[in-house]
């Protein structure tokens, strides 16, 4: 009985299933061009924080509002993204920062920079820039190189590293964006089928109860 009514319904929908399969094929084919979420990424580079905002389809968020909060939700600064969806600012305060993107039309994204990331980059630097020159005694015959302070070396190395690491950071940042995968799509459809199963089960129980009720009558 259950299979009977089910097959009848399925027959009804057979043609539409075909249409659905076509739509699914479209989705798989459409691949990376997907929407609909606003995402913001932020990373620290020297004394600055860089942010990049985009919709999950890959389109940059143009002229979106960026608001930076500290952990107590005090607003530290506010700005707008440029046409590439980028916005950068000086570190306003050495605490964990919550960077919120308001992309308009109900889209919002959030990114937190923990305080540890800020300390790593900028904390020791200020101390060492004031430190003494390195070992002028050891290499007296190389006076020119000796004029460089430890702090300056650190700064130069950091700048060079920032430059080199920028593309790597970008790749990392892009990989953090979790696009819907094929597995997600199939999983979602699986859930829907499961719900149908539950509905059919209760229908079957109801019908069974009705039949048994008739028998006892």
């Amino acid at each position: 009985m259950r299979t009977n009514s089910l097959t009848r319904n399925c027959m009804c929908c057979r043609k539409i299933v075909g249409f659905m399969l076509f739509m699914m094929a479209c989705v798989v084919w459409a691949g990376p061009v997907m929407a609909h979420r606003a995402i913001i990424f932020a990373w620290v580079e020297g004394e600055k924080i860089f942010t990049e905002s985009k919709f999950s389809g890959g389109r940059p968020v143009k002229q979106g509002d960026i608001i930076v909060y500290d952990l107590e939700n005090n607003q530290l600064l506010k700005g707008k993204t440029d046409d590439k969806g980028e916005f950068s600012f000086e570190i306003p305060k050495r605490t964990s920062l919550k960077i919120v993107l308001i992309a308009g039309m109900g889209h919002r994204g959030e990114w937190t920079i923990p305080v540890s990331e800020l300390e790593d980059v900028a904390g020791p630097q200020t101390e060492i820039t004031t430190s003494q020159k390195i070992a002028p005694k050891k290499a007296e015959d190389q006076e020119e190189t000796c004029d460089i302070t430890l702090g300056e070396i650190r700064q130069i190395v950091e700048q060079a590293l920032d430059k080199r690491l920028k593309p790597v950071m970008k790749i990392l940042v892009e990989s953090r964006e979790n696009r819907p995968t094929f597995r997600d799509i199939v999983g979602g459809i699986g859930y829907i089928l499961g719900l149908v199963g539950v509905a059919v089960y209760f229908n079957y129980r109801r019908k069974l109860a009705e039949m048994e009720g008739k028998k006892t009558d």
């Binding site: 009514s5 929908c13 979420r37 308001i102 459809i189």
Partner: protein, 214 residues
């Protein structure tokens, strides 16, 4: 058309949940067991349609398909869209769990509204049915955009300004959805006319009597 978490104020979220729950209750009541597979297929269609991105226009928009869902299911659009939106929020992080009620209202209410507006017309002769189907698909997106504006009004933004922006962003989708809805209606009129609301029973085939016992 999915509103993210953390934008709307508490009262808007709560009234959204309450209204969506009421709509879903009515929808479940009207959705008899024989139409469950149909509803599931439409729910799956809605679930994946949001992944079809329309790269035209100023913003990032996607297909919604609420017009055709409303046309076929009527009030059943509420539970169908709620299920699909829940899965989208969980699996794709579109929208959010707290905004589920509001988002359901944004997409399901226009669907039901368009069902009452155009439901009877799509069963008529083609020169009435086709424009009606197109209008149903396009207007259900339009009303959805207006609902987004309405939801955002209560928090901070100006209703006319936001609605204008959302409607402009969704213009290409409205046209595409209109065409898809018209295409679906034309298809259903040929193969399964009894799925459409305005079709009189005499043209539809009567399902064979269930043989009890097996």
């Amino acid at each position: 058309m999915h509103i993210s978490e953390g934008i709307l104020s508490g009262p808007v979220l709560i009234s959204g949940i309450a209204l969506a729950a009421a709509g879903t209750a009515i929808g479940l009541k009207k959705l008899d067991y024989d139409r469950i597979p149909r509803a599931a297929i439409l729910s799956a269609a809605f679930f994946v349609a949001s992944l079809i991105h329309v790269p035209i226009g100023p913003s990032s928009v996607h297909l919604i398909l609420n017009g055709i869902i409303g046309l076929i299911l009527g009030w059943g659009a509420f539970p169908v869209i709620l299920v699909a939106l829940t899965l989208q929020a969980m699996l794709f992080q579109f929208g959010g769990i707290t905004t589920l009620g509001v988002n359901t209202m944004i997409m399901a209410l226009p669907a039901v509204f368009c069902y009452y507006l155009f439901g009877r017309l799509v069963g008529k002769r083609p020169h009435i049915a086709m424009p009606a189907a197109f209008a149903c698909g396009a207007l259900s997106v339009f009303f959805g955009a207006v609902m987004v504006g309405l939801a955002l009004t209560f928090t901070e933004e100006n209703f006319l300004k936001v609605s204008y922006l959302v409607v402009i962003a969704h213009l290409p989708v409205m046209i595409i959805e209109g065409i898809i809805t018209a295409f679906c209606v034309a298809f259903l009129r040929k193969v399964q006319p009894d799925m459409l609301p305005g079709y009189s029973k005499q043209t539809s085939f009567t399902p064979s009597k269930e043989t009890a016992g097996d």
